[in-house]
Subunit: 646 residues, 2 copies
Amino acid sequence: MSLPTCLPLPRIRFERGFLAERARLVREVVIPYQWEALNDRVPGAERSGTINNFKVAAGERPGEFYGYWFQDSDLAKWLEAASFSLATHPDPKLDAELDGIIATIAKAQQPDGYLDTFVQLTAPDKRWTNLFEWHELYIAGHFIEAGVAHFEATGKRTLLDVVGKLADMIEKVFGLGAGQIPGYPGHEEIELALVKLARVTGEKRYVQLAAYFINQRGAAPNYFDAESQRLGVSAKLPIYFYKNRWEYLQAEKPVRDALEPVGHAVRAMYLYTAMADLARELGDQSLRQACHTLWNNLRDYHTYITGAVGSEWEGEQFSGRYDLPNDRAYAESCAGIGLVFFARRMLDLELRGEFADAMERTLFNNVLAGMALDGKTFFYVNPLEVRPEEAKARRDQHYVKTQRVPWFGCACCPPNIARTLTSLGYYVHSVQPDGLAIHLYADCALDATVAGVKVGLAVKTDYPWDGKVRVEVTPRGPAKFGLRLRLPGWCTAPSASVNGAPVDLAAHARDGYLHLDREWAPGDVVTLDLPMTVQRVRAHPRVHYDLGCVALQRGPLVFCVEQIDNGPQLAQLVLPKRAVLTARFDAGLLGGAIVIEGAAERITPASNELYSTAEPIRVPATLRAVPYCLWNNRGEGEMRVWLRED
Amino acid sequence: MSLPTCLPLPRIRFERGFLAERARLVREVVIPYQWEALNDRVPGAERSGTINNFKVAAGERPGEFYGYWFQDSDLAKWLEAASFSLATHPDPKLDAELDGIIATIAKAQQPDGYLDTFVQLTAPDKRWTNLFEWHELYIAGHFIEAGVAHFEATGKRTLLDVVGKLADMIEKVFGLGAGQIPGYPGHEEIELALVKLARVTGEKRYVQLAAYFINQRGAAPNYFDAESQRLGVSAKLPIYFYKNRWEYLQAEKPVRDALEPVGHAVRAMYLYTAMADLARELGDQSLRQACHTLWNNLRDYHTYITGAVGSEWEGEQFSGRYDLPNDRAYAESCAGIGLVFFARRMLDLELRGEFADAMERTLFNNVLAGMALDGKTFFYVNPLEVRPEEAKARRDQHYVKTQRVPWFGCACCPPNIARTLTSLGYYVHSVQPDGLAIHLYADCALDATVAGVKVGLAVKTDYPWDGKVRVEVTPRGPAKFGLRLRLPGWCTAPSASVNGAPVDLAAHARDGYLHLDREWAPGDVVTLDLPMTVQRVRAHPRVHYDLGCVALQRGPLVFCVEQIDNGPQLAQLVLPKRAVLTARFDAGLLGGAIVIEGAAERITPASNELYSTAEPIRVPATLRAVPYCLWNNRGEGEMRVWLRED
């Protein structure tokens, strides 16, 4: 079978339901708010300086650079999110705002294609000298992604031309040829962006440039050894940069020798995403093998039940195998987004349900938890257990926020969440040469060209609250193709029908997907029933943090208990092994949500003594759990995913 | 009843048994080794510089100051330990070494009495300008303690005269009078030392000086507000100094208003010790009430089951109520020693078993764990749970050492342990105006003057391995006095006899002591039987770290499981509620020790999956626990005090 090309912009409309609500929130609240913030027009908000930096670099106004060395990327991610939004929801005002700022960006770009306002305004003679710490290539990657999205959404080449010129310049500067810099990014990102640029421009050489960055990464002699010596930086940089040499940025060894996810989790996820892209684009078997090894170890040793990754605060890094603390989780929203990217690319390499299962878990739990229900505040760090008083007092939880915070400041996560939630179509489906696969279920309508025929699909479902899915297929002509519908790993008894006739799952299910290969006629209806039961999930006993505990899951959603429903001291809540748990939809709760309820017990003190030989007393209690992705939308309080079971 | 004076040097010989072994180790290994280290004569060891600093300050050789600003205190603590050792074990060579270094110290002392080699050699014009950070008064306190011990042990006034001159100078410099500095120590210690100095010199004014320091502490306007402004230090010092203003050094409010142990744990314990001293010396009821409040809160909210205190790494401080993490415990050996001091003073205020119970628990578990069985390596930090791989990888456990380390470097704990183990007599008993109380049981012989009569006591016991104690009383004349024998709180069924006749405990036990008031004749024998059973202890459920777990205790000893006996992944070990546990003496283990053994279970993975709905599998296992104070004497490995119970 020929391979799918990389993620063309999907045209999917989400009109109602769980994901549609969040996408609407991003469109109507987050994107306008971020535009104001990038322009420093939010009263009382921390200064962003981002757009001002571009205006200064463009010569439109006097001034100085303000912010982090990666500040430009905030605008790039916002441009990408806004472009995605325009693709499905045209908006002349937003369109004009993009035109305006793109013109400024074009003016800020230097004649040879270089673009990075931090370097241009603070160290113009130091281009590409600090690949380790500065983010020139990372920012270029985000602008390339934005340029591709803007072009695909609007048909305008304005930003695409800017980023093409930038990519061409980078192609000249980097490489193993005479006079070229044999380096690669300190923060991966451009690699996956170049694959997208190759797709829309048809220029295979951008794939080759990405392949150069990937192949050179960690090769001996190590570029960062030489660069850091040149800069003399070793004394002033945090120690984690040097833990196992260049492990922090996945450059301690060639990528094909990497067996274990290591280092800064967002960097790692972006790298593995690009590796999977290139394995597919180039049919590179050794790269593909490395992706599978990394994936397997990520799955087996490094992922929270919420799908979050990167459990170590220091350097926002991966920790050791099974080291998944709940109250001291880092679990950055951006790392979760990166895992969604990686999983989506693995699905393009191989249509296996486990990749979609992981993508769904991370998106519905870790990533969605990153944003408040009003779209105004965000979590960077996503713990699975919070005791506010302790988190505020203990130094080792200083990075845990007990409430979401406004998006600006070091604002990597909020615009990342925005661009993810405005491009959900990417993750919902993929078009394959011989068919169309649905990975995630959401109420939506999509148009695609499958095996040369235009096909409309109308999906009706109340997912993730309910597992019933109705898919109506409307080809615009005779259409023989395979429809692949994911059978989620969490579902133990799925069933399906085509035009009312039951489907023999044993014959048609393969690798976590239902394969329906037939000639489709307008009005064909496939139904899927994915019964959702309340499941008690246990962690591998090597995860000592979770020993003696269970997590509650229903469908793709992980649940948690909150203080507002269960009182304080959630650690004292015990779920008896035989307790019956029931799920019910509470229309009045958090915009309508499933809650899980049941009888429980509470450990209460036998005395006021700190230590005693008396057995603790158990008193009856009730338990009420809500979806983890909705936690902390009713004020500050304790929260806990893993519940003591007895 | 008139109050006992503060801790005169006891003449007790410990010839055999558990504590005697450790005292012998300090005498024969630790003190000689530390002398070499202080003299920079240990090949390959980190430089101490301590004695060199004094020789330079004395003009005996050229050179510069080396080490921390509190380096002098290492020598002072060593001098105190060596003096204690001389009191019970004369040693001409050691005696001569002391004479030599004391002569150097006397030469180093400035004509007006000032003594602090750091200030003398690095900032001679900056005396008393940085009470907050520098340790001039802390060092003075340690030298005063050493001078008192040296005088009491040897009858020589050489060091006593030096510290008397120093104290007199401090008395002139500090106070609320015209031209005096209205300050007090950044690190408490001198207050308790001055009370000792008053005792041996008969000069009550030293008690008044201590009272000034205590009464002025935290008074408004706050001295450290003014000092820090003068120094402009706020920008460069760690944030924990400013958490709740001066809480780190117990100076955020007057000491009588302090309800909760806060701040740096060693500082706090030394302060509370002096507060109890002064409450007794001055009959100060408000100070006494503050001591009781602090004690009660320390006991109810802040003490590990090993008797350790100070659970927060940042600033080596107390944390919130019930916040007692096991793997991230700080639990510094010096803070435990400070608790022993405080408890001992509370016993002098009021003879209650709970103070002795706490003193015993901390000494036998936390403090003894601080030193290896060979006396060559030490723990500063005493966790109750260690997974070496995790402790080395996680940033939030970076301060946890998985093996004891040699004593030098920032060497506060090793000489502190040495001076404690050479002065065990202080903690074993106290002489009261009308009697004599035995607080801790150890095989020993002591001579004391009780109610005007010389009395010899011979205690025979295998404590803490066995609870049988035989006390032979030998007065040198007719002697009517009360013998008070502690009835440990952990013992549920004690019994006693006098000359073979059973004692009615209901009639003679009061506040945790057996009170035997009678006329004693030579050869009178009291026996005590304190049956030791294996006890399962539970923590208050607010200590969420220990929920679902029990600790094993037998007599005063807390036990732990080690990897070498139980295999790795100790968190997976489960102690069934009904499992029978037996204690047996293993003569071949760690110099002979009680071990606790029984049937247990192990949680094993149902699959290799990280998350699964399958219930974990339990397989039979055996459990073998050893005394916590002996852990890590057989190589590196996991350790755990709190065992999962089910």
